[in-house]
Structure formats: C-alpha cells, structure tokens
Amino acid sequence: MSKDFIKNNIKELRAQNKLRQEDLAKKVGVTRQTIIAIEKGNYSPSLELAFKIAKVFSVPIGEVFSYDSSNG
C-alpha cells in the first residue's frame, strides 16, 4: 500500500476546531513534527493513532483519513 494513496484533512479539521498542531499533538500523545508529517502525507499513522486523532475531532475515522484506490 503506497502512502501516496492515503489522504487526510487534519489541517482543515484543526482550523474548524481552532486547534494548533502542538495542541493536537499533546492530545494524541505524539510530537508536533509527527502531526506535521501526517498532514503533509509524509507519514501514515498507526490505526491507534488514527482513531485517537478522529476522537479528538469527534468525527468518524473515515472523515479524517481516506484511501484513494483509483491510484492503486
């Protein structure tokens, strides 16, 4: 599975919830650099971390992350 196919809209969700990267990082227990890497698509989080992020925004995980199978 290529990381290029996994998209996320964490940046938009953060803006809606007025959360800084640092705040989100603290809430889910990772570093700010990891959040940056996830937003840029340079790192795909583990399932556990993905669920934690979705829980912070109170949305289903499918609304945070998506898999574009048309490129695969």
Binding site: V30, T31, Q33, A37
Partner: protein, 150 residues
C-alpha cells in the same frame, strides 16, 4: 528541525570527533609496531574493546551538552524533553536496519579478504571501517526519513 534530528547530528559529531581520532591513533600505533600473529590479535581485540567505553562516554557527554545547550538556547526545558512517539520508533528501526545491511556487507568483505590471503590486519581494518560506515549510514538514513518521509 526536530529534537530527534538534532540528536542525530549530535551522534554524527560524536562519531567524527571521537571515533575518527581514536581510529587514526589505533592505525598509527599498528603501523609503528611489529607484531606476531598472536600479538596482532590481542592488539585488535584491545582496540575494539577499548572503543566501546570510549564511545559510550562520548555519547553520554555529547547528549548532556546537547540537552544543556537546548535549554540555554530555547529557555524551555520541555523542548529538551520531547517524547519518543511511534514515528520516532519506526525511523529508529529503519535506520538501524539500514546500518545492519551495511555492516553485513562489510563483514562479508572482511571474510573475502581472508580468503584472498589479505591477512588479519586487512580483516580487522575492513571490519572497523564497515562498522564506522554502517553507523554513519544509519544516522544519515534517519535524517532522510525525518526530512523526507518514512
């Protein structure tokens, strides 16, 4: 630049400032002496074993200096105590894996040198250089994974 990237640079400096002079000292000592086979084995065994505590002490000192430096420069103790998360573990694992591959190649080259009658000193020199190269490659791998993608 993240804290982990800075620590990789500290490790890099630790290798360059401590390991390189020590290895040069070992090679100079070796070239200035004449050894029997048994003495040569003991010489290289001693050199390897002495390198371990030297590297450990150097790493600890460099890390202490790095941590103090971060606190002084940023004025933030939290900056020096960042957590190690899953991405850091993955980068670490992949970097170590890459370093092991390089060392394996070096080990094989050392064994081939024995087969080609290169002598004990050639074997030990190749092992030392491959260990050094594997460590550098591991550090650069980690820096790549942090900078580009993992």
């Amino acid at each position: 630049m993240s804290s982990e990237e800075k620590q990789n640079i500290v490790s890099l400096f630790s290798i360059l400032l401590v390991s390189v002079p020590y290895l040069l000292y070992v090679f100079i000592q070796f070239n200035n002496e004449t050894f029997t086979t048994e003495e040569e084995l003991k010489f290289w065994a001693g050199a390897f074993l002495l390198m371990i505590p030297i590297r450990i002490v150097a790493q600890i000192l460099m890390y202490i200096i790095f941590t103090i430096g971060v606190v002084i420069v940023t004025g933030d103790e939290e900056e020096a105590n960042t957590i190690t998360d899953e991405r850091d573990f993955i980068v670490d694992l992949k970097g170590e894996r890459n370093a092991h591959y390089i060392f394996i190649f070096g080990f094989l080259a050392a064994m081939i040198s024995i087969l080609l009658d290169g002598g004990l000193s050639a074997m030990f020199v190749i092992l030392i250089v491959s260990g050094f190269a594997s460590e550098l490659f591991g550090i650069f791998s980690k820096m790549f994974y942090y900078r580009v993608r993992v």
